[in-house]
């Protein structure tokens, strides 16, 4: 008891002192979130580091008392490990500009995130910026724990040289329907233009479906997530068609079951790849490529095709003390100006509605990005559910077993996975 009262007395003194120092500037110290220096993390890929540095510099120039420090964290999947560990240890930064939507439920469960709805006008701000897609980023409790930041809508890249060698049209390649896609794939392999038509990683990592099954599923269903209303959706006829399509590619050895060293598309070993716009900079000068929407059984028009977003978002972490500054910075870094810089410096798509109309100059000069800007309007995110990663791992294991390696009938394997996923989605 004595100890407690001493602490309380100390706290009172500190608070009085703080209030005294604050002077007349703060109007309502009880409710206004604190301000002061903060730390943020961004991904360590070189383009994003460059963007992050200029953004922090621009902010610091105008806010000498709320200095922001930027640090780098891994871009790959170790990113989530680093973040989860720092949440537990209580040394997470204020904002992380590399938060995977699939990891949000877990960070939220850990008590690591701050609901953005608590800030004045936050909900309106982010829904206004992102448009209808924003709803996919709301957590089951109805709140936003992330601001949709940037996406990398995945599409089919094809190698024009390889297609030419296989006698395929390189301007408007016949890749719209499954039958066309398969026929083109057979031609590529038969003509030995490339070892395989397409080479998505056959690995068992939980995130691999995002680059084979899921984009096609999003397109085939017209924008349905893997799980909806607590029920797995992939056992639908659409889901079965997508699985059957991939299985036929594996059965006919048009897609590879082995892991490739490096990038199969850049090395010309595969004629096609499923990638987002970040890859444009990577393939520059290596491959003469074209881009097409992911196929659907009926050959939907590009303007109707959905795909996977491959988004990275910004979240605020509960270890953050100066949340007022953090929220201001969050808005500052997602203005039209900063989004434009992000687009320019990284080639990734800010999650802003009407993207091509917002930056006509950029897309006028960078035709190759325009297709992606159009596609970015119709992206599907991973479902925001508890046990998100476990659900994806369960799906991947069943998919790998049946579709890739043909050890089980896809219908049976995916059916079992669906039952298990329904249970996981319910939170057990």
């Amino acid at each position: 008891m004595k100890h407690l009262s001493v602490t309380a007395a100390l706290a009172a003194i500190v608070m009085t002192a703080a209030a005294a120092c604050g002077g007349g500037t703060s109007t309502n110290p009880d409710t206004a979130p604190a301000r002061g220096p903060i730390t943020i993390w961004y991904s360590n890929n070189p383009d994003e580091v460059a963007w992050g540095k200029q953004m922090v510099e621009a902010w610091n120039a105008g806010h000498p008392n709320e200095k922001v420090t930027g640090q780098e964290i891994p871009a790959g999947k170790t990113s989530e490990e680093v973040i989860a560990a720092s949440i537990t240890a209580g040394n997470a930064p204020c904002l992380i500009y590399n938060t995977a939507p699939a990891a949000i439920p877990r960070f939220q469960k850990q008590g690591g995130l701050v609901a953005l709805d608590d800030f004045d006008g936050a909900k309106a701000y982010l829904e206004d910026r992102t448009g209808g897609r924003a709803g996919q980023y709301r957590s089951p409790d109805g709140k936003y724990y992330q601001i949709p930041w940037k996406s990398n809508p995945v599409m089919i890249f094809y190698n024009k040289k390889v297609f030419d060698k296989a006698g395929l049209d390189t301007k408007n390649p016949p890749l719209a329907t499954y039958d066309q896609f398969r026929a083109a794939a057979r031609k590529v392999v038969a003509a030995k233009a490339a070892d395989y038509a397409i080479w998505p990683s056959p690995g068992s990592e939980f995130f691999q479906p995002w680059f084979d099954f899921y984009p096609l599923f999003a397109a085939e269903t017209g924008g349905t997530q893997l799980v909806k209303d607590g029920k797995a959706q992939f056992t639908s006829p659409e889901g079965e068609r997508v699985a059957a399509f991939w299985k036929s590619l594996y059965d006919e050895k048009l897609a590879a079951k082995e892991t490739f060293n490096g990038d199969s598309f850049a090395d010309g070993k595969a004629a096609m790849a499923i990638v987002g716009p970040w890859a444009i900079a990577v393939y520059k000068g290596k491959v003469d490529w074209g881009v097409a929407p992911v196929p659907t059984s009926t050959g939907k028009s590009p303007a109707e095709t959905h795909t996977f977003s491959d988004a990275k978002n910004v979240a605020m972490f509960s270890a953050c003390k100066n949340r007022g500054t953090a929220w201001d910075l969050l808005k500052f870094s997602t203005t039209k100006e900063q989004d434009g810089k992000l687009l320019e410096m990284t080639g990734q798509m800010p999650m802003r509605s009407g993207l091509s109309a917002a930056y006509p100059e950029y897309f006028g000069q960078h035709k190759e990005y325009e297709t992606f800007a159009g596609q970015a309007e119709r992206t599907v995110e991973v479902p925001n559910l508890a046990n998100s990663i476990e659900i994806w791992q369960t799906f991947r294991d069943a998919y790998s077993k049946s579709v890739i390696f043909g050890k089980q009938d896809p219908k049976a394997a995916l059916g079992e996975a669906a039952t298990k996923i329904d249970g996981l989605a319910a939170g057990s």
Binding site: Q110, G203, S204, E258, S400, F405
Partner: protein, 307 residues
């Protein structure tokens, strides 16, 4: 604890003039830093892991109030009834059965040869040691190149090449990984044996020679018993590193593929605990693994040190 320390055969006899209480204190003084280290760094996380395995536990931010009920053996029964977990333990047994004998035989053979050959000794020793120092990320790429369907190994085998090829073949993935593990660690075990071989008194070989023993007999009657402490070490370390297999299925077979045929318990621990955020289940796998390895190590020590 299952592994008991037999009275060490070579330990100084108690009751010597210089012995007694002074040495007792001295021994404690010598080990104090190490004991402090273990307490500071090892004891708490391990105890914590065991604690988690009996609770419905997940990591939270400091200050978050959540309910973490005691669940008894629920995590253990869940883990043991999971076919993926059972498969991963089976995979590890396959690995150990191939890896441990191969490691002991090859490293002793090569160390013996190396101990005798004088010329180019540095070259050979450095050569064997190279895979051990090289980061897995790099050698994994090389192994894929060697073992993929159009790779060097299959080119050399011609029509005998397996289909599907090594690392995506459910029967061959684990043996291929076992070979990889043996290859990568062998340099280290060779060094262990080399160090041990240099301590075998030369007189023993001389007397064996006088007794008319051939080289092969001398190898069995002098070298093998002479390096027994090192053999115990090699067997135990190979077992332990093999049982803790992680990097290889993580990198070489894309997360334990094909279809879990090369998944290891530690890989599953990583997936469940670190990726999926269920440290309670992961800890249960870990505790089972640790108990299993201790049991194996105990049997191995019994068998090896008794003779």
């Amino acid at each position: 604890m299952t592994i008991s320390l037999r009275p060490p055969a070579r330990a100084p006899r108690a009751g010597r003039p210089a012995g007694g209480l002074g040495r007792q204190v001295l021994g404690m003084a010598f080990v104090t830093p190490y004991v402090l280290f273990l307490v500071a760094v090892f004891a708490y996380p391990l105890g914590f892991a065991v604690y988690m395995s009996f609770h419905d536990y997940f990591f939270t931010a400091p200050g978050a109030v959540v309910d973490r009920p005691f669940v008894g053996l629920a995590n253990y029964t869940a883990v043991l009834s999971d076919p993926a977990v059972r498969q991963s333990f089976g995979n590890i047994v396959v690995l150990l059965v191939i890896n441990v004998p191969l490691t002991v035989a090859l490293s002793l053979l090569l160390a013996t040869a190396l101990n005798a050959a004088i010329r180019f000794r540095t070259f050979f020793r450095a050569g064997y040691y190279l895979p051990y120092v090289t980061a897995s990320v790099a050698v994994v790429g090389v192994w894929r190149f060697l073992f993929n369907s159009g790779g060097l190994v299959n080119s050399a085998l011609g029509p005998l090449a397996p289909d599907p090829t090594w690392l995506v073949n459910e029967h061959l993935a684990m043996p291929t990984i076992a070979l990889f593990v043996t290859w990568k660690g062998l340099g280290f075990y060779i060094l262990l044996y080399l160090a041990a071989l240099q301590n075998i008194p030369k007189e023993l070989y001389e007397s064996a020679s006088v007794d008319g023993a051939g080289r092969w007999r001398a190898f069995w009657s002098v070298t093998v018993p002479g390096v027994r402490p090192a053999t115990v070490l090699v067997v135990l370390l190979a077992t332990v590193t093999g049982a803790n297999l992680f990097t290889e299925p993580y990198l070489l077979t894309g997360g334990g593929g094909p279809d879990g045929a090369s998944a290891s318990p530690v890989l599953l621990m990583y997936q469940r605990g670190i990726e999926q955020g269920n440290p309670d289940v992961a800890s249960a796998i870990g505790v089972i693994l640790v108990c299993g390895v201790l049991l194996i190590a105990f049997v191995q020590r019994r068998l090896l040190e008794k003779r």
